[in-house]
Symmetry: C2
Subunit: 327 residues, 2 copies
């Protein structure tokens, strides 16, 4: 019997799969672009080919899957927001049929990232952790008492919908003023464009600056905003401040409610580094006064693009901490 | 060996103690006023006499204690905010010496109330619950996956310090715009007085109204505010709306982060009933759009003044769910 598991990470832009060893080591990772506009069968075919390429005829000890939500859980019928071809698609069941006789488990992709950071990343050794992903959306996962918290329907960890500005922008969830509505890359970029930001053209310098290589491809994305902020653009910097403050407020609230030791922050926007973490820390510290809350540390996530795979594998390899439902 | 436990509930206005049977039935409860301004020895003497009166010479299976925070936990050296006579007072150790040979366990008083509502009250049967107490302060306790969540230092459940108004009033915790800063009874009453509220004199009616019996004793408290709101005072009603909206925002945030099934709300201010629960529900529903979050139910706490005792007893009687540390 193999001790490696097959890990699968399903996203709107790419599918990834790998074999992951008992220690969390990622072997033979493969990635393919998500078939754009693919229907259910096309998407499944791409995934099936990918896992065949990775697993070949080798036996695996189990299959762990991370996938964008929403999904029914733990049965794993998925309806990823940005993959309209799959609506209530029985992803877990299909992979269970493809790999019979071993456990096949699924969780939200941001939850898998949080699990990975707790198991093998920046949250290692902390029993009470919130793992965050700040990207196209703002997601997360919650580990308390050294156990992954699932909540009533597998949806615990939705830090992106903590309300940080009660009268703030409408959120895709139907609410208003959620962290995600303020700090998600596209929302932040839209705000910056309203404020006069022109992607890739760094403003706020008296002398004309030579156009950097990325200008021609520059579009109004969170990642471009981070790049322009790093290059000194005043509006892009203001946008990072805006996102950082919203993150700081949400982290303060989560820390008080859950008595957290550590928060890990990853995802595209976190690439802005101190430009984001600075205002985030400043706001957090202004809102935590009680001794227990002041303990919290906020650190960059450390596992990069493999995190989703490592966390998916942990659903099998470290099930005592990260998997609660009966299979 | 007795199967009953001694439960103790330590508050700034009263000490309570009772024997509690295995099913959570409260027997022989006694209450005494907290010695006002008492030093450490005076406070301990009052408690020692109280537990002697309740337990007598009967053996008990253990001792469960709820006490106002902050405290070091689980060792239980307490420094209750409103009992300056006890600072790092070894309350748990003193009771352990008084009742040798049995487990003696302590938790925050609001945590004990939440445990009670989960074990025997309005949250019974729900695996994922937030129990709230809205009174002089705003406290709570968190049960997830059918287990009490302690957090890194026993302080999980501090719903009162979720930020509901980033630029709102300063909070006693050192932060700003916390739920507690807005919705705690004294804070809310102070806000109402600023708006012109005169406690016990019901305004907003065209015709003079006969003075109700409670007028002479009326002071600017949250409880009086609830009474005046019930009697139709416009400012008191506005205050209930203000508190309700703050509660709704905090509950929305907690629901998203923890994927809650149910929230129980007790404490003095909750006596306002629909005047508080109405605006709370309205705000909550405006901020929960995702299916999983819309599931949440907010219900009045059901156990009343015995809740703290029942929850303290559960630290012994239902330790599999409510007690995680090693003794």
């Amino acid at each position: 019997m193999s001790e490696s598991v097959l890990a699968v990470d399903i996203g709107g832009t790419k599918f990834a799969a790998a074999l992951v060893g008992p220690g969390g080591d990622v072997q033979a990772a493969e990635r393919v672009a998500t078939p754009p506009g693919g229907d259910a069968a096309t998407l499944w075919k791409a995934l099936d080919e990918l896992v065949s390429a990775v697993a070949g005829d080798r036996p695996v000890a189990g299959v762990g899957i991370g996938c964008g939500g929403p999904m029914s859980w733990p049965d794993g019928a998925v309806s990823p927001l940005n993959m309209p071809g799959w609506r209530a698609f029985p992803l877990r069941d299909r992979l269970a049929a493809r790999f019979p006789g071993v456990p096949v488990r699924i969780h939200n992709d941001a939850v898998c990232v949080a699990v990975a950071e707790h198991w093998r990343g920046a949250g290692r050794g902390s029993a009470n952790m919130l793992g965050m992903v700040v990207s196209t959306g703002v997601g997360g996962g919650l580990v308390l008492g050294d156990r992954l918290i699932d909540g009533g329907s597998g949806n615990a960890g939705h830090i992106g919908h903590i309300v940080v500005d009660p009268d703030g922008p409408a959120c895709g969830c139907g609410g208003r003023g959620c962290l995600e509505a303020v700090a998600r890359g596209p929302g932040l970029a839209a705000w910056a464009v309203e404020q006069g930001w022109i992607p890739g053209r760094v403003a706020g310098s008296a002398a004309p600056v030579p156009a950097p290589a990325y200008v021609e491809a520059a579009t109004a994305t969170g990642r471009q905003l981070a790049l322009d902020a790093a290059a000194g653009d005043a509006t892009a910097l203001a946008a990072m401040g805006r996102a950082g403050r919203a993150l700081g407020l949400a982290i303060a609230s989560a820390t008080h409610l859950c008595d957290l030791d550590v928060v890990t922050v990853g995802g595209g926007l976190s690439q802005a580094g101190p430009l984001l973490f600075g205002p985030m820390e400043e706001t957090l510290r202004a809102h935590v006064g009680l001794d227990f809350a002041r303990r919290v540390r906020v650190v960059p996530a450390s596992l990069g693009q493999d995190a989703g795979l490592v966390g998916a594998a942990a659903l099998i390899l470290a099930a005592d901490r990260y998997w609660s439902p009966r299979d």
